[in-house]
Symmetry: C2
Subunit: 107 residues, 2 copies
């Protein structure tokens, strides 16, 4: 399933709200949680991570992964937590507005 442009950020923020994680781990967790429905491409993921870090919502550190290799772990900042809350509200609002249109009685 293709991602709707604009929804990747909140997915990442939510994923990181559980625990710090590296890019590959984020991708894998999302794939599993969505039962293969969302396959986040690296070309989308890494730019998104940099974008979010640049905006101050994430910070990163090289650490050792579960497999013993070096990996860049991202964690939510305080600003990131606020942004996650905002994004969740936005998403729900959006879904509500869409419903107003899509569930209007058809002619």
């Amino acid at each position: 399933m293709e991602l709707l442009k604009g929804t990747l950020d909140v997915l990442i923020l939510k994923t990181l709200s559980h625990r710090p994680l590296h890019g590959y781990g984020i991708s894998r967790w999302l794939r599993e949680t969505t039962r293969e429905a969302f396959q986040v491409e690296e070309g989308a993921l890494y730019p998104a991570l940099r974008r979010l870090e640049k905006r101050g919502f994430l910070e990163s550190r090289w650490e050792e992964s579960e497999t013993g290799r070096q990996a860049k772990f991202y964690r939510l900042t305080a600003a990131g937590k606020k942004e996650l809350a905002r994004s969740l509200r936005s998403w729900h609002d959006y879904v509500d507005v869409m419903a107003r249109v899509l569930e209007s009685p058809s002619g």
Copy 2:
């Protein structure tokens, strides 16, 4: 509120499922139905209408509008109705998958 890229088409199809309508009317109906939340810009709307017509989901005809002026009325084709049904399913599926992630228990 900004539109998520990819959601405009289904909004247009749904709007036209009620009755044939011209661009300006689509824009106005959407604005009213969403209580000002979605303001579809002309620069997005007209290209989208042409796109949908080109794909065979809409057909257009110049007719007289309620105000007595000539306007291009778009109506759903049979293919457009099928596409609307498909799009509605897609949207609902998407919302469900998003929920799986966004409502996962936070750490």
